[in-house]
Structures are given as C-alpha cells and as structure tokens.
Amino acid sequence: MKKLLLGNAAVAQGAYEAGVRVVASYPGTPSTEITENIVKYDEIYAEWSPNEKVAAEVAIGASIGGARSMSCMKHVGLNVMADPVFTVSYTGVNGGLVFCVADDPGMHSSQNEQDSRHYAKASKITMLEPSDSQECKEFTRLAFELSEEFDTPVFIRLSTRVSHSQSLVEIGERKDIELKPYEKNVGKYVMMPANAVKRHVVVEERIAKLKDFAEDCSFNTVEMNDTKIGVIASGIAYMYAKEALGDNASYLKLGMVYPMPEKLILDFASKVDKLYVIEELDPIIEDHCKSLGLEVSGKDVFTLLGEYTPTMIKSAVLGTAPAEQAEIEEAIPARPPVLCPGCPHRGVFYVLKKLGLVVSGDIGCYTLGAIPPLASVDTTICMGASVSAALGMAKARGSEFNKKLVSVIGDSTFMHSGITGLIDIVYNKGNNTVIILDNSITGMTGHQDNPTTGYTIRGEETKQVNLLTLCKAIGIEHVCVADPFDIKNFEKVVKEETQREEPSVIIAQRPCALLKSVSYTSHCKITENCKKCKMCMKLGCPAISEDGAGGVKIDLTQCNGCGLCINVCPFDAIVKEG
C-alpha cells in the first residue's frame, strides 16, 4: 500500500518498521513531526525530553539496554547533544541507535544554517541522507541494521524540503525485533581514558570498514545517461539536479554522505567529461572529490547560502535563461511572521517597550518581539542564552545598566537550558530580572507538552514542574506571578523587580491563545469614543490597522476577542461586541 507522507512521518514509519522501541527528542523545526508521528504507534515508548542532550542520552541508554532507539532534533539541537554524541561514537551500540537531524537551509525557522554533515566527519559517525519520503522510510529502516552490523550510531540527515515535503511511500510491516541481552561490558561502555584509548582504535577500524562498505552499498547509486555532464549530489539537491538536467547528465547519487567512497567516485568521474558537485550549504562532497585529485565544479558556480532550485542549476550548468515571468513593478511590503492575535507575549513586550528596557531574548515565538512596532528584543543567540547572556551584560556594564535589563524566556526554553543560567545568576551574585513567559505549552513548534505543562507526549497526566517553587528552590527569593494582560499591574511589577539589588523572576502567566483550552469569545469593536490616538496600534496586533480615514479598524476575521486592546485604550473606546 502506498501513502502520501511527509518526510518526517516517513522517518517515523521507517523506525516503526525497524522495530524501534524508544524514541526521545526535543521539538525543533523542521524535525518535530518525526516524534509526533512516532506517538501514533503504541508499541514505541516516546518522550519529549527537556533538551536534546537529555534526549540523546535517553536513546543511548535504551540502546545500551538492548533496544533499537532513536533521537530526533533540528540542526542546532545537534549542538546541544554533541557531548554524548562524540563519545557514543566510541562506545558503539547494543540495540541499533539512530540520530535523525534536520537542517534548515534558507532558515525558514532557525537562527543559523549550519551544515550538520560536518558533525558526521567530526564525530566519526556514519551519515545517510535521503532525498524523498520513500527514502526517508527505507534509509531509517536500514540505518538500524547498519548500526548493529557495524556497532555504530548512525546519523540520518534531512533538510527542510525533505522533512516537510509529502511524497508517496510504500508502507511495510513492523519487524519483531527482540530486546538484545544486556551484558556488563566496562571496556566498551565506561569511557575513562584507559578504555577510550582502546575504543578509539575500534572507531578508526570501523570507519575504514564503512569506507569499503560505501564503495558498494545500496545507498549510493549510479545512473548513466549523456556523459558530457556528470553530477555528484545527495539529498534534495539530487532531486533539483534531476529535475533541472534530466537525461542530459549522468548521476552519482550519494545516499551515504559519511564516509564517502573513493573508487566509486573516481570511476564515475572517469566516465564523464565535466564533473559537477551539487550540494546545498558547505562544499563537503566537493572537498572530498578534490582530496581525490579530481577537477570538479561546485562552489565556484553555486552559492554557499540558502536553498537551491532547479532553475539555479539549469542556469549554472547549461546556461539556460529562467522561464518568462510577470514582474512586479513596485516595492511591495514583506509579510514577516507576527505574534498571533491574543498572544500573551504581546502584553509583555508592550510593557518592556514602554519602559525602554534592554531585553535579552531567546528562542521561541517571542523572538518575534524584535519586530516593530513592539521592537523590544535586543539579542537572540540560542536556547537559554537570554538568562546567562544577561548576567554577562550586567557583569560587563554594572548595576545601573542591570536595572534597565531583563531576560525573556519561554517555559519550555527555560526547562531546556534557562535553568542553568539562572543557577549561575544565584551562584555568582547576579541581580538580574528574568521574565519566564509561561504560556503553558511549547508554542513555536506547534504545541508540544513539556515538563511545566503536566502532560506527557501522549497526553497522559504527569507531575508538573512548578516554576515558582523551582526558582525559589535554587535560591531566587523574589519570585512572583503576573498576568501580562493586566498591563498596569505588569508594568508595576517589572519596575519593582528591575530596581532590586537582588535577583528576581517574574512568571508572566497566560496560556497561548491557540490552545484549545483557551476560549476568548466574540471580538473587539472600536466605538465613536475613539480619539484616533492609535495607542492600540502600538500593540502590533495583526487584527488592528488604520482605516484609511485617520482612524483605526479591527478585522473581525482576525480578532479573537482577547481584549488586550481594551486594556490599553485610554478613552474606553474599544468594547467587546456581543
């Protein structure tokens, strides 16, 4: 039976068919739907872990325990889990172990566009790269076998266009894989120097064996057509090349991008007149070809930046002009993403902007607080940096600066890696004010539960981490909860807490407006009392805009009646309708 599946759903199906028993991940676009789809299979234990490092370690433990296991993350999540990854390369596995990492060329929803293939080489872990959903399923299924055969973790590398494209997948049955016996093996699993020295030898032997395997494995395929042009490509870039050049080129498709074959590449190169390497982001295959002494064209004609397209390839390889197109003959406004109508973060940023504070930001929907008119976020680096970077700023610039500085961090991001920064503030005598934006869910990635929501990935009730008692327990004496839609009180609280000569935490508590449990009703309406002061427009609510006659209008299809604009109107000119 064939089904139309997202690349991510196909990875989940492949893991299911391979008999995977444990999957632990932290959500991150474009990888999130892999683990969300795993939940559909009752046979698999699945969890959202607090962060990617924990997730990887849970999967590693499950593998040592004898189960086929997997952890899935976005590219920057791989940075967080790099520590265990580099060492599990040395220990190897018991049950098959797969790390599925999704890169985001073009940065549709990311803070950088790092190329995760570097990690395969650096950690000496083999890496497979599928090009469509069928390959996502097959490669994942085979990755578990490869993992056990070569006693190695295996990376699957996806990119946004593979993760988030649907294509047809042949659905198979789940293989019944027994739990492997657990046997204590100190030399293999206790990585202290004396053991690790020996394991490093094993790693190098393994890579040599995998290089031989790469010469003649089903992941790497040759397709000979016209031999004037030869293309070496992998992942989505292969699909773009195939669409652009069709039968006018021959192809070496690398489904295994680490380690790469040598003889196979040299043989292919000898059969074609002109050789191109087509790969998004960094010249990893190209550098490998050059190390073999080949003359190849790659980043000399293709960019290091963003995503490729078939047109780009046609133009670079064949010199073809792009298709005829209707041009837009004026500058048109962009449409950047915005905080949703009813978003609880809007109240927070409205107040922070009003008070003119420096805002150390973090990763989540609330990064959008950087966009005008709220325009209050000063920095965004990575998960958790809002808290620790603010401590650094305060240490650099002193206590007067600190009184105009706050950190903002979501509940899930705080659990991920904000808590460690907060402990640093307490331990190293910082006086920072941290605002935890507690919207009761992991928002940006599409509503995943986390340790503060009180529910597991399967929606089962569990112990809920209480942010207030947690902050108190680590030594923050001034912790308060405030509703960011009660603008007056929230402003008062922020003023008080930032003036303290002690660290403090404000828990800005109001659920995400998109949660099913939130039921704002009706919508808001501008009345004749409106003095056209446009105070409400400072909220940056997508439902409120100018009416073209000097006043303001509310778009009823967008407004959900949250009422925040009513709270900021100085003339009581906005009312709830109905």
Binding site: H108, Q166, P542
Partner: protein, 188 residues
C-alpha cells in the same frame, strides 16, 4: 507532463489543509505527487507558500518562477507577490480578501493599490470573494475549501473524487460546512 500548483496565503488561513485535500485527491488518480509545505515560524501570520506537483514522475518538490500552471491565492497581496511564479498561459485564482501585513500596520509601507487590475493586466485571473462564500457556507474559516472548489473545476478530476477526499480529510463535525463551501466554489 508534471502539473504545478502553488498555494499562497497568510499563516493561519488554512493553506495546509487545502494542499492536503489537493495532494490526496491527485494520488487517488494514480499520479506521482509531491507536496511541499511550510511549518514553524512562517505559520505565525507570515507569508506561506505550498507547492503541489503531480505527474508521471516528480523530482523536485518546489516550483520556480515562471513555472506554476495554477496559483491559488488566499489573499490579494500574496497573489501579487506570487505573480512572477505563474507560467505564461497559467491561471491565478485570487480570494479578494486583504490582510494588512505588519509593515503596513506600522505605517512603514502602504498596501499596494489596485492589485486586481495589476494582475489582470498581465495574467489570466479569476477573482473570488471566498470570504463571503465561506460565511454563506456557515464558517468564515472555510475560505480554503471554497478556493479548492474553484480550482477543482479547472482540473480534469471529477467532482465526486474531490468530495470523497474532503470526507476523508475533514473532521466529521465540520464536514457539512466544508462540503457546502466546496460546492459554492465549484459552482461559481
């Protein structure tokens, strides 16, 4: 020959559901299909673009400028932005709804005027007040299915096949509204 359809709109307008109805309908016709979606940050009220391609064998999941056979636009400015993607002789179906983007709300830029005329000057345009039709069907959120109805008529896939997919895709409690919305678009 691969057919290339682009769906553009504003995050939250239901473009994903539209692409899924389209994708599932064409696989039932025996085609190879690729549907490329946007998830994550762009879904928060930003421009969203979905590509649906079907034919004997589909390689790239994306559509380049000057290539789309049909563009289904959920909003005027997004239709205008997508204009260069339509191929010569292609067809663009446009919902006449206008949603101000943040640079317009803040006053940094103006919403372009007379987009309908600018589109009509260069392209084969069908303008649809899908919002009113969706309201007539019983829920303004059914704009997506109204537009699928309008588009369905310009394909060679029979009416019943579309209805079958909608029945399999939409939650039962919204089925009546969506079937009515599809009809209103189809019969336009």
């Amino acid at each position: 020959m691969t057919k290339k359809i682009m769906i553009v709109g504003v995050g939250g307008q239901g473009t994903l559901l539209a692409s899924r109805i389209l994708g599932n309908t064409v696989i039932n016709e025996g085609y190879d299909v690729k549907v490329s979606e946007v998830h994550g940050m762009s879904q928060r009220g930003g421009s969203v673009v979905t590509y649906v391609k079907y034919g004997d064998a589909v390689y790239s999941p994306i559509i380049d400028r000057g290539e789309a056979d049909i563009i289904l636009a959920f909003e005027m400015l997004e239709a205008y932005r997508a204009m260069p993607y339509l191929k010569k002789g292609g067809k663009i179906i446009v919902n006449t709804q206008e949603i101000d983007p943040m640079p317009v709300i803040t006053g940094a830029m103006k919403y372009p005027e007379n987009i309908d005329k600018k589109l009509q000057d260069k392209l084969d345009v069908t303008l649809v007040d899908a919002l009113s039709l969706a309201e007539e069907a019983g829920n303004f959120k059914a704009v997506n299915v109204v537009l699928i109805g309008v588009m369905a008529k310009s394909t060679d896939i029979p009416y019943e096949k579309w209805v079958e997919t909608i029945k399999n895709t939409v939650p039962p409690k919204f089925l009546d509204v969506n079937l009515k919305a599809f009809d209103l678009g189809y019969k336009l």
